[in-house]
Symmetry: D2
Subunit: 309 residues, 4 copies
Amino acid sequence: MSFVSPIRVKRGMTTSGLAKQMEAVQVLGPGRFGKAVRILSEMFGDQQCCKMLSIAGPIVPGGLRNVLVDLVEKNLINAIVTTGANVTHDMLEGLGHRHIVGSETDNDETLRRKGLSRIYDLLVKQKSIEHLERSTRHMLDRIPVEERRNIATFELLWHFGTQLKDKESLLSVSSKRRTPVFCPGIFDSMLGLDLWTYSQLNPLFINPFKDFSKLVNLSYESKRVGAIVLGGGMPKHHVLIANSYRGGVDAAIQITLDRPEGGGASGAPLEEAISWGKIRRRDSLVTLVGDALVLFPIMTLAALENSGK
Amino acid sequence: MSFVSPIRVKRGMTTSGLAKQMEAVQVLGPGRFGKAVRILSEMFGDQQCCKMLSIAGPIVPGGLRNVLVDLVEKNLINAIVTTGANVTHDMLEGLGHRHIVGSETDNDETLRRKGLSRIYDLLVKQKSIEHLERSTRHMLDRIPVEERRNIATFELLWHFGTQLKDKESLLSVSSKRRTPVFCPGIFDSMLGLDLWTYSQLNPLFINPFKDFSKLVNLSYESKRVGAIVLGGGMPKHHVLIANSYRGGVDAAIQITLDRPEGGGASGAPLEEAISWGKIRRRDSLVTLVGDALVLFPIMTLAALENSGK
Amino acid sequence: MSFVSPIRVKRGMTTSGLAKQMEAVQVLGPGRFGKAVRILSEMFGDQQCCKMLSIAGPIVPGGLRNVLVDLVEKNLINAIVTTGANVTHDMLEGLGHRHIVGSETDNDETLRRKGLSRIYDLLVKQKSIEHLERSTRHMLDRIPVEERRNIATFELLWHFGTQLKDKESLLSVSSKRRTPVFCPGIFDSMLGLDLWTYSQLNPLFINPFKDFSKLVNLSYESKRVGAIVLGGGMPKHHVLIANSYRGGVDAAIQITLDRPEGGGASGAPLEEAISWGKIRRRDSLVTLVGDALVLFPIMTLAALENSGK
Amino acid sequence: MSFVSPIRVKRGMTTSGLAKQMEAVQVLGPGRFGKAVRILSEMFGDQQCCKMLSIAGPIVPGGLRNVLVDLVEKNLINAIVTTGANVTHDMLEGLGHRHIVGSETDNDETLRRKGLSRIYDLLVKQKSIEHLERSTRHMLDRIPVEERRNIATFELLWHFGTQLKDKESLLSVSSKRRTPVFCPGIFDSMLGLDLWTYSQLNPLFINPFKDFSKLVNLSYESKRVGAIVLGGGMPKHHVLIANSYRGGVDAAIQITLDRPEGGGASGAPLEEAISWGKIRRRDSLVTLVGDALVLFPIMTLAALENSGK
């Protein structure tokens, strides 16, 4: 029989010190948060563990772009699977555009007339999106035609990363370090529209099978794989399913506000993936109910402290 | 100033009669449910409105497969955008396999050993999935090589629909009626694994740009477009973004348990899409917070009554 | 091994017919909805089952007042435990005031200046609330002082029900039929403020122990008890805890949007109450994730059909 | 036009340093978290601000008891409004009992047979609860009869606090410091059952009007009032309604997983309370969607750093 051990908060404590206390609570949110920090710290400290990050939701425009960039720079993230939206917004910032502070009660018809598009309380100018279209066209032109006839999304995004002026963008850094950024739903984004438009007049064939082969090989060749799942959606499922060939990931943390009862993959507890062979064991897993945009930076700080990275 | 009008429930009342009363409440859940039934009824009654359905979550394995099949048969759904999982499960049933009743507290390691995989409290046999792999291979073999070298998902799924023995499957009926079923994330599913495996040894090149062209054309050529959004995910976003070329859909209903505050597209209110030009007006929109698996059959019954279909 | 049985929706079907099909799905939302309708129908059909209803959230102002009134009239609800807010709003309507249609994006500072108070997208005039204060004072004056010195909330609310002009109010009908309406948190509402103000100058002692004795006796003397839990909060917990003296309720249905992971009683699955001795068995229980304002009227219609009430 | 400013996480950073960066994001979860830390820091630093804490959900058994105790000791919490459950669990620990680590998938019928009761994944022994009953009886016996005939919950709980052996319990510390702990729903808890049982044979008359007078006076006499709302429920509403006599609280932060669309008070955004006169202004308010058990300790650490307390 194990007992709940209460927390004490004292000025001067580190974030990781607090997280360790929370792990000792063992139950409810604090127990899960503490466990998630421990698992993340172990991943960061394990050089033979391939850390795969899945991101859905406005992780990049919502302020976490540099958090991810620094982790890629430090080799603490080895592969990313993302939505088209996060890539779109990284490129927008990579082209010098910024995200604007709005409000979730803004009138959308008025915003439309003003040339602003909304993500909850965050705005982006239509003009920025138009600039992205022109830039994408130029960047595509610079990719050799032969390559464009059969290109994976991770290859395409490395090309974009190399061409972006902002060397701090997620794509630039990933490209420089050869960290693959997979985007299985790239077609379903503003960037995707630009790719489709381009393909109507120019040779461009994106081959998602090439992406999947790369991801499966990465998984297969890694001694250990850890999944860091921010939000649900296709990126979450994609990381897990790609690991089914090696018998599942070894460790995983998930942060989501989606709920399980509807039966969708986004809100499903990680344990469910064990029955599909996508995760190996139930002891190195944890699902945190919460907003990844809030919790992940805090967990990252604690895990950097713990792992000395 | 408009007033809330309370509901009265009497035995003998029809579902649509109750929904009409709920519309008169005007506020909170009842007002939204009543409005959603009205919008759905108007879509069903409007032959010049192209009804686009997006489905995410276990709509097909969770018992709603025949509801969708009947709507396609009656020409009340004109295009479907779905996750790979729903297609996978339709094919499983189309091959004669059934879904099994489990429990959300089942131990997943035990299930794994028993050859069962879990979606919340619903199970599927691994043997069924292995059968699907073999069948998919055979069905792919029967598609002319030339076609396989540049095929859209909707074309591929029509082929599968034609070849499935079960003529009541969603793919069979959609194929028979030439209703396109788009699956932009087809790579991210059990079926997707089978396609990828096949592509390693045989010519198979799926071209999502062809899908998008078809979907955009369908949207563009329709006098009116109505979106029926069950769950969020990529299918939701995909229907909406494809309609941005025509200035947005004319009407939309959304049923989801996802919440908006995290900023993800799944939980976003439909109004947000107005600022992106994906929806035209705010008066023919409604978001229902709830489980689509529960609410959509009830709404369908009411809308069939209202529209006489 | 039991299999999922899919739904078919046909025009002409009754609501209860659809619910029966949903029960056959057995899994996910449809299975739970169908089971909930069956349990509710059994409760309605069982004259020896004391039906206890708990309500939290804007059930009364949100349009369900008459649904409850009719159930009380038909003896299908035998006791109610409610928040102070629902009693407040029933009295407001009982005094002739109506609830106004607003919007969840209304500016609250502007509303305040206009004398309007908001519940999500529903408004109430401050003038109505002031009228309630005066009326409450007059109604209290008419209760004999001796009674006022030691009064239970159910006694107080019967007095109010008798004095309200609107004979269709929930309190009037409950008073006429001697159906107790318990309000353990009556102090925490606009009505509660009026009671407190009155008590500063006049004898008024509300004794919640009397309420609890009445509720426990009702539970104890009933052959069977069924709990209908709409929303969570104190009303939910109160119905369940009062039944712990008889070994728990025999059957229960719960409809809520609250989630379980935070550990609060509102979102807890009913099964948890078994470990506390508040519910007897796990076979006559069901938790529906959804909006009670939408689902309860539909379930009521189906259960009236099934029970012939 | 204001721009989103991205976060950077570096080892060695303090929790408050990270929170300040998150405030600069301004949007979505990070912006809200950062703002909440700032408001909490301002409250902590303002000696003329009466800090009122409302707690619902398993804050005490879930490991945060000492966090609250230390804040009361430091005069950073000046009044508490809580559910009966949190008081019950503080007394259990105050009597030497501990909470046990369980699992949310434990079988509740088995737990019942083993004499264990469950709160999500946390367990408590029935024997502990029986001990609480005997102790409560003895503690009540020691309160002068005259006082027992008309006692407020905050008075009763001070008595209990004085008599508990564990001087680190929330009630002991609150009693020692004369910080009132209000429990408007005390009847609705295991402790409430004990009080009711006692009242059947002994004079005990709890008067919630006395509580409300005390709370209103505290609010009225304070130069400024800040509300810290952990979870929703009656405690949240109670703090806010008591402040309506002074025109509302001056600042408030709320952490909850409940959602607004159902219209219940628990999930309502704080802004709504402005229309009721319970909050003064919209600029010192923030609602965080998340688990208070996880976020509050982190915010407390940051706010202690900022305020030097």
